[in-house]
């Protein structure tokens, strides 16, 4: 029943996305929704490790940017089609996630957080000095002529992003409801106890670190074609790193749908504030919402919904009993 509900939802989202390319002409909406979906994939990816196991990744922008630069390099060297580029970025970022995880996930969670932060800066320095992909000055990326069955390349990119977002959400949902998810939740609650009960904690953490990296790579791969000019400042944007943390924290980290709710809500608010007020204020809004939520409602929106449901259930039970 529940599985059917989810997959019907997936079909509806895909159909709506496709219909959107037909009925909407104003390109601004494609750009706006693209940015929200990119945030959604990043949020879902962050949550696979951060929310499910409690290991905080501060270097989301680093993973994202590796996806971006893999994409630029492959496009420049071989002019590969986008789907192949996405797969390649996912593999490379997944391996980086695995590597970082292997080196630091055996230590306390804080070290992983700092290592990811450090890694993002190392990558940024490399990107600044790597002339082939533009160096510090940046590079232009031309959109390919071929836009498949769509009227413009932007519409094609938009649809790709819808599919990727659905894929990321489905993967994270699968992880959380499967046996892996139970293991991850056990790590989050008490790692030592989980280890004692025979949960292969390191292997599970490495799996989710790789998936996190891979998904962040996917989010970055289409980005150069989307903005057509990439420099390290835009690829390693602060907003990407903050959003990847703020969206799941606001939505609720313990549930697979938490980051989705958080991303849609926060992403939309940001698009509105950026257009109507300013982009600096936008950062302030994210920061304040993040701090407000973690101090006042640490379980996020999904947690509030969950409590509300449970409360009602309890009230019902009481009135019946």
């Amino acid at each position: 029943m529940k599985i059917n509900g989810f997959w019907i939802g997936v079909l509806i989202v895909l159909a709506l996305g496709y219909a959107f390319t037909f009925f909407v002409d104003n390109e601004f909406y494609f750009f706006a929704v693209y940015v929200v979906l990119q945030g959604l994939i990043m949020a879902v990816a962050w949550n696979v490790l951060g929310g499910f196991t409690g290991y905080v990744n501060f270097g989301s922008a680093g993973f994202f940017a590796v996806g971006v630069y893999t994409s630029i390099a492959l496009n420049k060297a071989f002019a590969l089609p986008l789907p192949l580029i996405i797969v390649a970025s996912a593999c490379i970022c997944g391996l980086i996630g695995l590597g970082t995880g292997y080196l630091t996930l055996r230590l306390k969670g804080v070290y992983f957080a700092i290592a990811t932060l450090a890694m993002a800066i190392v990558f940024e320095t490399v990107a600044n000095n790597w002339e082939y992909v533009g160096g510090a000055a940046g590079t232009y990326v031309l959109q390919p002529e071929n836009s498949f069955f769509f009227d413009s390349y932007v519409e094609f990119l938009f649809m790709v992003m819808v599919i990727l977002a659905v894929f990321a959400t489905a993967l994270s949902r699968y992880l959380s409801i499967s046996k892996i998810g139970q293991g991850l939740a056990a790590i989050r609650d008490d790692e030592t106890a989980a280890e004692c009960m025979g949960v292969p904690t390191l292997r599970l953490k490495l799996i989710s670190a790789s998936i996190m990296g891979g998904l962040m790579g996917i989010a970055g791969a289409p980005f150069p074609f989307f903005i057509s000019f990439v420099d390290p400042l835009s690829a390693f944007s602060l907003l990407i790193a903050v959003n990847a943390i703020a969206m799941p924290m606001i939505g609720g980290t313990a549930y697979w749908y938490g980051p989705v709710i958080g991303a849609l809500l926060l992403g939309t608010i940001q698009e509105i504030t950026t257009v109507t007020i300013s982009s600096e204020l936008n950062l302030l809004v994210v920061g304040s919402l993040l701090v407000a939520f973690i101090t006042l409602a640490p379980q996020g929106i999904a947690g509030l919904i969950h409590d509300l449901k449970n409360g009602r259930q309890k009230a019902k039970d009481k009135s019946h009993g």
Binding site: I114, I121, I245, T295
Partner: protein
């Protein structure tokens, strides 16, 4: 060649001394209290802007401003610990939520600074900025030497406070064994509160030193996150003397790299060292296993 090398080492040592002032507060919060205050470098920038305003309007000496504002920051730090304690530590949520809390705080401070001052570089004026002492062929620019001296004095002061006074020893104790400290009749919450106060107070001084060394804009703080954490980890988590040694090592390494390979690689030095340390010697170079 040797002249260039020796000059690079000396300017690295001067820079490293200043790094110690930035990392000092983090060494206390992160190393001893287990509070991952990722917003610390941004608070340093906040201190730098205070020095900027007062220097600009009253022409006061930046170092003096830093020292005067240290007590104010001490009170701010105590307030910060109150919020942290009641929201996270008491409920046992410090690991995930606490990290995200400081991350959010970092953004709020940074964006407020951007909204108030813009992203232009700001600097201070003092009589010694721009002067250079020469000993043989070795340059001692006062712009670097004054912050070095102040930073080392502050670090030593904190070192002696921590190892010689009752309050300081209580701070060292709270990180080692909270219960034992309680049995000795000290309140861990109060001890930690004053420790975070001291940590934030050092940020006021570090900020004033920073703006003497280089012009600043609000996002400069981010570069110091990695440096400061690298120094604290290399120094062996919470050891004040280790922090000073590690800061000097990082300073010299950065200075050599930027002299011989170009300044654009310098930011990667501390982070690279940090990653290597985490991977192969997580207790730090100067830490005990």
């Amino acid at each position: 060649m040797t002249e260039l090398f020796i000059n690079a080492v000396v300017s690295g040592l001067l820079l490293g001394g200043f790094y110690a002032a930035v990392a000092l507060g983090l060494s206390i919060t992160f190393g001893q209290l287990d509070i991952v205050n990722i917003a610390h470098p941004t608070i340093v920038i906040f201190g730098a802007y205070i020095a900027y305003i007062l220097n600009e309007t009253f022409g006061l000496d930046p170092v003096l401003i830093g020292l005067v504002f240290a007590p104010v920051f001490y009170v701010l730090g105590m307030g910060l610990y109150r919020i942290y304690y009641y929201s996270f530590e008491r409920t046992g949520q410090e690991s995930l939520s606490g990290l995200a809390f400081f991350f959010g705080l970092m953004f709020i401070i940074e964006v407020c600074l951007i909204l108030t001052f813009g992203v232009d570089y700001r600097l201070v004026s003092a009589p010694y900025i721009g002067q250079t002492w020469k000993i043989g062929f070795v340059d001692f620019p006062l712009r670097m030497t004054v912050p070095f001296i102040v930073a080392v004095v502050v670090t030593l002061a904190v070192y002696f406070y921590m190892s010689k006074t009752f309050q300081g020893r209580a701070i060292m104790a709270v990180s080692q064994d909270r219960l034992a400290l309680q049995l000795m009749g000290a309140d861990p919450v109060k001890v930690k509160q004053s420790a975070l106060g001291i940590a934030i107070a050092t940020a006021a001084i570090a900020g004033a030193l920073l703006i003497i060394i280089q012009p600043i804009e609000p996002s400069v703080g981010r570069l110091f996150i990695g440096r400061a954490f690298a120094i604290v980890v290399l120094g062996g988590m919470g050891s004040i003397s280790g922090t000073l040694m590690a800061a000097l090592v990082i300073g010299v390494a950065e200075s050599l790299i930027s002299t011989f390979y170009g300044p654009s690689w310098a930011p990667a030095v501390s982070f690279g060292l940090l990653l290597l340390t985490l991977a192969f010697r997580p207790q730090g170079i100067f830490g005990r296993a």
